[in-house]
Symmetry: C2
Subunit: 226 residues, 2 copies
């Protein structure tokens, strides 16, 4: 059976879990902290990042794949049905642009400010006693919510009128920030309506049940009608 | 005619220029500093990063594509011949892994230390008078050269026995570091033999002729038998 080396609150790992679930592909989830000494990662991914998919394709053998975007492209190529990329080249370029937006830009501008400190080894990136940059994170999040609202005024989903990898990447990143109650949904009705739609999908349910030890989720985290 | 919004010494832009040249696709090169106020970038790429390809496909219209990896996938999909990706899914996953390695990991661990300070607005990222972290950069570069040597002991090219996007991404990143004489080629004979092969390709020649104002290239920069 295929395996996914992941961490439950890592946004890139959640992106791939959503993609596997949407395609109906089972995977053994193996928690693999990239910061741990002697991590299981090295033989499968010398870059020591998660997620890593170790696929066992019908043709036999084991194929380790990383990083997240290479996994997304691989899954889309090998397991075509249902398609999670638009049917035109221009559409696929748009879905990839927005997917990369979340995996790189949102990661750098939003996740690094707060959630990375809470999910990666719990202490990394902040000196003891140093306050969290809550104001900066709120500004950055508002800017990104504003941008997806702009897209959603014109489209049903982020990259067009059908669900694509863009929505799955975005939902993965928002879900982690939402766990900590960081997202001002009431100021962004289009984004909220889109996230309600995403949250209702069966693929999202396992993520909404997860708990981070010592930190309970925001009250609305798993509520479909937040 | 298609356009590429780029900067001459930006490694990601060079990666796409190499890909266009290998595929025999002409493009108007438009220097577009992402740090400039009122940049031409915003309407084509709200993430304000380069490169951006504005393609004019045979079917008509204009398609703006970014970031670099979405451009690479688009070009490979739309202009298939010659193929710059392996023919198997496992092979393509390996080429993408190594391509992302250079575009993300090498960018973060190597380029940020020295070359970004020299090519991006010339003053960014370092306070006046602060020394450059030359020792750190040398260590990081040696580690990456060691890794590609490991690959090249087993393969003719980085992702297998044929040229792929992995080689083009890597050559783009090495070329910028090589301009500044930062690469200890004599310690890494496999990497050097591979880069000699890459340097001899017609697609590389325009890059080897470029000069950064006020900073002449290392003496061996354009020498094919360095």
């Amino acid at each position: 059976m295929r395996s996914l080396l992941h961490m439950p609150f890592d946004p890139g790992s959640r992106f791939i879990r959503l993609m596997l679930a949407e395609k109906g592909l089972a995977a053994r989830l193996v928690e693999t902290p990239p910061w741990a000494a002697g991590s299981e990662l090295a033989p499968h991914n010398p870059a020591l990042t998660i997620p890593v998919l170790i696929d066992e394709p019908p043709t036999g053998g084991e194929i380790p794949i990383s990083p997240s975007f290479a996994i997304a492209d691989y899954l889309e190529e090998v397991y075509r049905d249902p398609a999670l990329m638009p049917s035109t080249s221009a559409g696929r370029a748009e879905a990839r642009r927005i997917g990369h937006w979340f995996e790189s830009k949102f990661e750098k501008e939003v996740n690094r400010l707060i959630v990375r400190r809470r999910i990666d080894g719990r202490q990394q990136g902040r000196k003891w006693g140093e306050p969290e940059p809550v104001r900066d994170a709120a500004d950055a999040l508002a800017w990104h919510l504003d941008y997806i609202s702009f897209l959603l005024e014109r489209r049903l989903f982020l990259a067009g009128d059908r669900l694509s990898i863009a929505d799955l990447a975005a939902a993965a990143h928002f879900s982690v920030n939402d766990y900590f109650g960081l997202i001002p949904w009431s100021d962004f009705p289009e984004a909220r309506a889109w996230y309600q739609k995403m949250k209702s999908r069966p693929s999202m349910q396992p993520l909404l049940k997860e708990k981070l030890e010592g930190t309970p989720p925001a009250p609305h985290y798993a509520d479909l009608d937040f």
